[in-house]
């Protein structure tokens, strides 16, 4: 007896057709922009000595044992798979390397959550490209993909991992405090963040910056607070991260996507491998992010081939849900078989 596992679903007409059409138009767009398609294997060999930034995904991956007793896993992250491909099999191919992919990723969910175990993604990565050039290209590519998918009123919420990290170092926070702050920021538990920064001794500029990011995302004020903090930070790391971010902002404005970008320096993504610019895309009616991505130079370094890389992935089910809500149709799509 077979039955549908929790967190998986069937997809029927006309939604299945819509997904197929959407994928085709996204693939055409990406091909025309010079991205090469790669089809990635669903099953991967599991490495028990996975470095820490990848730990979270490895833990969430579905694992099983093959006929030799080797532990295998269903792929749980496309970016990781592409980064691994780029730094091993394709390490001698000319850079920048532009790749795109589509397919399912599988991640274990907490049983009582309604989240999906299988999610279908379309995404692209550029390997061997520095900031801000690559970041601007990816952001503008995401905007074009969302436009091609006819998502109305979307917003790209953007932050920078380096700024938050250097602020925490400048503030002299220990590992435990850093982890606590990161976790509170991932879930935007602003009540906890506020209590945390009240309870620790940190420089005034640092406190003011953290208080500022507790406010709602809107840009100028938080940039001002970051600039102020950078002027005190002798390590120059805040200033470097900030000027990188400012470069991305002006680059984005120059290519006409400035209006879609909302600056949010309190943004932290759930994946630990990001090291620079990060973003999430939202649209009215979507509930959660419909796309996300960022710069992950640190990941390639771990994989043994240090170079710049940046990318994004679109969650196709979120895209379809958002389109369906925009159509004013919250009922099930039931077609005639």
């Amino acid at each position: 007896m077979q039955y549908l596992a929790q967190g998986t679903c069937y997809l029927f007409q006309p939604e299945s057709q819509k997904r197929r059409d959407l994928e085709a138009s996204l693939a055409n767009l990406l091909l025309s922009e010079g991205y090469q398609e790669v089809v990635l294997p669903v099953v991967q060999a599991h490495d028990p000595d996975t470095p820490r930034p990848l730990r979270k995904m490895v833990d969430a991956a579905y694992k099983f044992v093959d006929y030799r007793g080797q532990v295998m896993a269903l792929r749980s992250d496309m970016t990781e798979a592409v980064a691994s491909l780029a730094s091993h099999e394709l390490r001698d191919i000319g850079r920048p390397l532009r790749l795109f992919y589509s397919g399912s990723v599988f991640r274990a969910r907490r049983p009582r959550w309604a989240g999906m175990v299988e999610s279908y993604q379309v995404g692209a990565e550029i390997v061997g490209i520095a900031a801000p050039e690559g970041d601007v290209e990816i952001l503008s590519l995401v905007a074009r993909c969302l436009k091609a998918a006819r998502i109305a009123g979307f917003q790209l919420r953007m932050g920078h991992v380096g700024i938050m990290e250097s602020v925490m170092d400048f503030g002299g926070m220990d590992e435990k405090q850093k982890t606590e702050l990161r976790l509170a920021l991932v879930s935007r538990d602003l009540v906890h963040v506020e209590r945390l920064i009240e309870g620790i001794v940190i420089p005034r500029a640092c406190r003011l910056f953290l208080k500022q990011i507790l406010q709602f995302p809107d840009g100028e004020d938080v940039l001002e607070a970051a600039r102020d903090l950078a002027s005190y930070d002798d390590s120059r790391r805040t200033a470097e991260a900030l000027s990188e971010l400012e470069g991305i902002i002006s680059g984005a404005s120059a290519c006409g996507i400035g209006d879609f970008i909302q600056l949010d320096l309190g943004l932290i993504r759930d994946l630990e491998y990001y090291s620079g610019m990060i973003f999430e895309a939202y649209a009215p009616g979507c509930g959660g992010p419909i796309a996300g991505g960022g710069r992950y130079d640190g990941l390639l370094k771990i994989l043994g081939h240090a170079e710049g890389a940046v990318g994004f992935a679109l969650d196709m089910q979120q895209v379809l849900n958002t389109l369906r809500k925009a159509d004013g149709n919250i009922a099930l799509h039931i077609g005639e078989l």
Binding site: Q155, S187, R188, D189, V191, F216
Partner: protein, 228 residues
């Protein structure tokens, strides 16, 4: 989801009167009477929906509501993907471990000195995640029995020797001859927001948050004037 409009989810039950009061003070009055069966209310500047406390994070995480009011106890237990924006400071309660008075000494030993107690203790609770985390961190071998409510009955019925529950006045515990063995944490009402709405409707949510913040300060100030 119109951009100029907020959908606000309020919890039925214990937190509703204070939620309505603080919303009215913040400039979002809504004429919801206690015991009403009508669950959606339109007002000129917002749409209010009423839901069970445990369902508030669900409505908000899916974006069916932009913001909501819910107890921290529910947020800890549900662990949903929502943004927690403001401590509204009402609806105070404590997460506690409680046991029958007659069993108090033993229960205290079991919770405070796990290394010296053999065997597995049974714990009945409406908050299985909270209970599991607590006992796991203390290294206590516990069997968690999830219940929908009325946990205080469990020891009397012989279902479990220990319960994990939230208490506000402690009356329910007293009437069932239970005593607090230790406190796990405290909880108050929180304003939560949907991840997408947080950015897409940031101006409106920010205005609401600031008005609520002022309302809380005004209320706290008002209380201090009362002598005694």
């Amino acid at each position: 989801m119109e951009d100029d409009f907020l959908t606000i989810a309020l919890p039925k039950g214990r937190l509703l009167p204070d939620s309505l009061k603080v919303m009215a003070l913040a400039g979002f009055p809504c004429d919801i009477r206690e015991g009403t069966r009508k669950l959606a209310h339109e007002t000129p500047n917002a749409r209010f929906i009423l839901a069970r406390p445990g369902d508030i994070p669900v409505y908000v995480s899916y974006g069916a509501a932009d913001v909501g009011i819910v107890g921290k106890d529910v947020l800890i237990e549900e662990g949903r993907d929502v943004y927690e924006i403001l401590d509204l400071e009402f609806g105070f309660c404590r997460f506690v471990v409680a046991a029958p008075r007659a069993f108090a000494t033993e229960a205290h030993l079991a919770v405070s000195a796990p290394g010296r107690v053999c065997g597995r203790i049974r714990v009945a609770t409406k908050f299985p995640r909270v209970a599991e985390t607590f006992f796991k961190h203390r290294g206590i071998h516990a069997e968690i029995i999830p219940l929908r409510g009325g946990t205080e009955l469990a020891p009397q019925a012989g279902l479990a020797a220990i319960v994990v529950d939230v208490v506000s006045t402690g009356r329910t515990l007293r009437e069932n001859d239970l005593v607090v063995i230790c406190e796990i944490g405290t909880s108050t009402a929180r304003l939560i927001a949907n991840r997408a709405s947080f950015g897409l409707k940031s101006k409106r949510i920010k205005a609401l948050t600031e008005a609520l913040r002022r309302a809380i300060v005004a209320q706290a100030g008002g209380k201090e004037v009362v002598p005694g």
